[in-house]
Symmetry: C2
Subunit: 338 residues, 2 copies
């Protein structure tokens, strides 16, 4: 194969060499459209964009990466273990990257992976992620992606989620059946489809029981733990406070427990609490915490399995498919009928 | 610089080319001594052992790795966040590798890193790790290592630990002062120096209070959660059961809580519990758990800071130094006086 260089690509595309070079480095100065054209031609003409990537593409890096928003959420720890179990079986190394729920960090990590240090990527998006160009570019450099939990609908590939709408409905329905009439929903991010689905399930359950929806009962939390705690405390300090709290992630439920401690409120007598959690200590808490538990390990395992199936086939574009696993509602003391 | 090849090295060292090649791949067939000679000469003669490593050595990978035994222990999560905070500041990427407390996995990860995909490594050893050749080889390929918590005394470099002996003494002393006379120590591994130091602190406290030591009160646990649970349950089912339990890691304390639940034992009335833990939910447990809490975040931060100081100096051999941080004994309900 004769060596194709930047000049050849530039000539063919009628653009400057620096444009081609920047496009291959996926610089922000170059439009997605141009990047796509350059990368496609580079692939077609067999140009090797990067000796390092080339080295790996040839020898295989025998490495995959998993990108998760945080490690303080047990859901992600278990999902990582699930992916790890498959990587180990395949004799691959698993690199773990943490975005700290920061869009820029996520972008920087994904750009970093474009040099080909991994064969494929499993990712759960940061709650602050708004654009998806970095992910499209990664796929265009020939590195396949599989999403789990915090997915991006716009990108065509495999996505592993749980039945968030049904779970949101069941959680709220459980609170109502146990006597709650004024339920607050603690949301972690408006950007996340899973959060929106859980919220829709919550609204659907209120509707089913003819409970009017009060927009002030949606508490919009974020990645700032202290401000979340303050918001939850304010919610529970209101003269007419909610009799039930539905937390979209485990951290927010723990903040609710701490707030109740400070305000001398008793769970479940004064307020009932339910949340999405994979917390190992849920049964040991005071009171034990009612949870919707996602099959986190299984989700990570399936994401990795699908990724490897495509790596074996040397396919970089994974066919679009939505795999939805069931979560489990585990009833404990925090939602007991008074 | 004229290109030096394997032949030149072999000739110079009066060994076969395959020996040189195997030594550079750090094969198990080659003695550590020969490996050292080959690597030193390769460095001296400016031989580039691996185009990929060369690429990185030249361009800098702008990446460091942290190798931890597990993610289900909050100590490691916080230590990783500490290292992460420094890496971010330095605009480096942090790769997280998990050994699952498995020596072979640790070896394979370290060998994997020898190809130069990272500039430096922070590591806490697996509880099953017995040999250190893989670590020596990594240092010899020019990648510096800093240890934290589960360290290796034999290797000359920086090591970050906490005052495990003093903490072990204080934990046991606290149980004795609160009325315990028959205290069991739950050990996680005989290989780990930190475990041995905690155990020595335990023995020292018994001695100070003239409490005879019963070897049967040392419960040797391991990485198998189920067998650990059985052992702890057996301990608490004995006709004459201990009145205090000192767990060397948080998992073992949680197993003690579960065992007490099953056996209808009340903490702290029937048995008092204290353990090394960075558990976020410790204050929310039933009863709240008395802990010795290590400055995990600070440990990871210091390990990374020392590593970067040496990377900036382009030094691969870090001077031997033991940095010992203080842990904190946080008294809660699980050790209350009856």
């Amino acid at each position: 194969m004769s060596k194709v260089n930047l000049k050849d690509l530039a000539k063919e595309l009628k653009v400057s060499v620096s444009t081609v070079s920047k496009a291959l480095k996926s610089s922000h100065e170059i439009s997605a459209e141009t990047k796509k054209r350059v990368l496609e031609l580079a692939q077609k003409m067999g140009y090797n964009p990067n000796p390092y990537a080339g080295f790996l593409r040839h020898h295989k890096s025998k490495t995959i990466a998993i990108i998760a928003p945080e490690l303080t959420n047990n859901f992600f720890i278990q999902a990582i273990s699930g992916a790890e179990s498959v990587a180990q079986e395949k004799d691959y190394h698993l690199l773990i990257y943490i975005t700290n729920d920061d869009f820029q960090k996520e972008e920087s990590i994904v750009r970093h992976l474009q040099n080909g240090r991994v064969d494929g990527v499993i990712i759960s998006l940061a709650s602050t992620t708004k654009g998806y160009q970095h992910l499209n570019d990664l796929i265009h450099t020939g590195i396949p992606i599989v999403f789990f939990d915090r997915i991006c609908h716009e990108i065509e590939t495999a996505k592993i989620t749980t039945d968030d709408f049904a779970s949101g409905f069941n959680a709220t329905n459980h609170l109502i059946e146990n006597g709650c009439r004024d339920i607050a929903y603690l949301s972690i991010s408006e950007n996340l489809s899973i959060d929106n689905k859980r919220k829709q399930g919550y609204l659907e359950a209120l509707l089913k029981h003819d409970i009017p929806f009060d927009p002030n009962r949606i508490v919009q939390c974020n990645t700032d733990e202290n401000s979340n705690f303050k918001k939850i405390k304010q919610l529970l300090q209101q003269e007419k406070r909610p009799d039930g709290v539905f937390a979209s992630i485990e951290k927010l439920a723990l903040n609710t427990y701490y707030a109740c401690k400070e305000l001398d409120l008793t769970i479940p007598k004064d307020v009932k609490v339910i949340c999405f959690a994979n917390l190992r200590t849920a049964p040991l808490l005071n009171p034990s915490l009612t949870t919707i538990t996602q099959p986190a390990f299984e989700m990570g395992k399936q994401a990795a399995t699908i990724l490897f199936k495509n790596l074996d086939k040397k396919r970089t574009l994974i066919t679009n498919e939505n795999i939805v696993l069931k979560s489990e509602l585990i009833k404990r003391e925090s939602t007991h009928v008074n």
